[in-house]
């Protein structure tokens, strides 16, 4: 028998917890489980129960006893059975001991043992009691020597199976039950599948059922729809044929014209195209260019969209002339305004520091006299040099008179 707990640790004594019943010893739980399964085949083998009532040695459920005893007519039977009762009691005690140790006595064997219904009922009730006692404690009784006549070796040997065999039997039975259950489940699944309830691996059953693909609901409507489709197909084919024929015609016609006429036609066509293009708006200065893309060219919707005039479209805040904007806003892609990068380099021309394309008379020596400040010109070119360069004031006439100078000094003094 496999251990109840899969650990090698010693079993700790169970603690007392207020309000909970004490867990009893469980060593014979599996036995009671087997017997229960034997009795009630339909029940799933229950896990071993932790709550156990202490077994009573001679506790018979009153209901079975009373019904069975009612069947039996004691007045008749008592005389017959009186002599055998002593021997039988001994046997019953032994049988009970064996049961409590885990031996099973089959009800058929028990019935062969006993002729009368009372012992049958007692045996049954014993079995029932032992099965209804959830944990009969194993009472190892002292082996009692029976005389040969009292022994029931053949039947007992047949009954007494070793513990291992009993367990194996119980296992086999349990397995059968599990198989039966699994079989039921499989059959249910197959039935559900056959009924079309569950498509394979599909969670979208509800969505799928919206589209009903049963035929023959409305035969006339279906036929009419098909006729429409067929007509469309025929029409499509015919149009394709007609298009091909027209092209061939066109090619033929052009061959028959003279070259001059061909040129005239081509010019007409080109002018027509130009007129179309002029109808559209122009690209503004530094306007962002959007390419239409290379895919979805077959789509009719895409063709409609391709006819739009994106380039010429203007929106409310669109600056017609970007020169009016400050320089950091003059960018092609306005979405990049204010973002990191793109702040320095604008275009080649504006970044160039050289005098690109300036042409003039280039003669080396003349360079020194022109284009510089007046003060740095060479003296050769001046009329007056140094301090005389600027305008001189008027000379005073009364330098020679002695008083004149004093007067000048005084006059100067008076001024101060």
């Amino acid at each position: 028998m496999p251990p109840k707990r899969m650990t090698a640790n010693p079993v700790k004594p169970s603690r007392y917890r207020p309000g909970k019943a004490l867990a009893e010893e469980h060593s014979s739980d599996s036995e009671s489980g087997e017997e229960e399964d034997d009795e009630t085949l339909k029940r799933i083998p229950e896990p071993s129960r932790t709550t156990a009532a202490p077994p009573k040695a001679a506790s018979f459920p009153s209901s079975t006893i009373s019904t069975n005893l009612k069947k039996v007519d004691l007045n008749e039977r008592r005389k017959e059975a009186a002599a055998k009762e002593v021997a039988r009691l001994e046997q019953e005690a032994q049988a009970k001991a064996r049961e409590e140790e885990g031996f099973e006595t089959e009800s058929s064997a028990a019935s062969t043992k006993s002729d009368s219904g009372s012992t049958e009922s007692e045996a049954e009730s014993e079995e029932e009691s032992s099965s209804e006692d959830e944990t009969p404690q194993p009472k190892l009784l002292r082996p009692v020597f029976l005389k040969k006549g009292q022994r029931q070796t053949s039947i007992a040997a047949a009954n007494a199976k070793s513990e291992v065999e009993a367990y194996a039997e119980a296992e086999a039975r349990r397995k059968e039950k599990m198989d039966a259950l699994v079989q039921e489940q499989l059959e249910k699944d197959a039935a559900a599948k056959a009924a079309g309830k569950k498509a394979w691996d599909d969670d979208d059953e509800g969505l799928a059922e919206e589209i009903d693909d049963t035929d023959g609901i409305d035969a006339e409507a279906e036929r009419a729809a098909w006729r429409l489709r067929e007509l469309k197909r025929v029409k499509r084919e015919r149009e394709a044929i007609e298009l091909a024929e027209k092209e061939l015609e066109e090619v033929e016609r052009r061959k028959n014209l003279t070259p001059a006429e061909r040129e005239a036609e081509d010019r007409e066509y080109i002018e027509k195209q130009k007129a179309e293009r002029e109808g559209r708006g122009q690209m503004g200065f530094m306007q962002k260019y959007h390419h239409r893309g290379a895919f979805f060219q077959d789509d009719d919707v895409a063709q409609e969209l391709a006819k739009r005039d994106i380039v010429g479209a203007r929106f409310v805040d669109d600056p017609m002339n970007r020169d009016t904007l400050p320089q950091y806003m003059q960018i092609r892609d306005m979405t990049k305004l204010g973002k990191k990068g793109g702040t320095k380099y604008r275009d080649l021309k504006s970044e160039d520091t050289g005098r690109w394309g300036e042409l003039g008379d280039r003669r080396g020596p003349r360079e020194s006299g022109y284009g510089v400040d007046e003060r740095f010109r060479p003296d050769r070119d001046r009329e007056r040099t140094g301090a005389n360069a600027g305008p001189l004031g008027e000379r005073k006439r009364d330098w020679d008179t002695p008083g004149g100078q004093q007067d000048m000094r005084e006059s100067k003094r008076q001024k101060t």
Binding site: E222, R223, R229, E230, I241
Partner: protein, 209 residues
Amino acid sequence: MAHQADSKRMLDDRGYSGRTLHGGNPAALLEKAVLDRIVESYYWKEQCFGLNEATLCDRAAELTCIGGTFGVAQKPTPFLCLLLKLLQLVPERDVVLCYLRQPDFKYLTALAAFYVRLAWEPKDVYATLEPLLADYRKLRRRTREAFAMGYVDQFVDDLLTKERVCATSLQKLPRRRDLEDLDVLEPRVSPLGEEIDEIDEDVSPAEED
């Protein structure tokens, strides 16, 4: 060569020595991405293992929709998985015709039509698929997000005209006109033949006026 139950031989192109379609490995008719999706799907692994031409009919009888891949993860439909199985098996011509012409399972018919379009020569394709243009049974189509309604004749028409059907790129089929010009095929007579003639008669007197 005996049919291998698993698909290892078919998927490994290096030493392929089975039956060829269009001069190569039949699995090359599907794109690699789609092949990977199919081979990794549960339906292929569980239901399509070790099928032969007969047991494939059982699977096809359970089909409820046609379609290519769906969903974000490009999950293949059972229809597509069975198509790959057909490509692996490369059944005989009679078997395929039998699949096509049996009247009970329309999805099996659709599957066979798809196989014919992929595997056979253009002349045979036109000859075999055009009778199906008169079959107006309904089919449930699985698109990438939801389901849609389709018909057998619409499906066959797509097979004959479109370039991409059910997550597969179809090989280019020469136009019917070209084959007619080469005298390989007769011009198609529509099942609505008489009605069209009547319509033409109605139209042309009106045009004359």
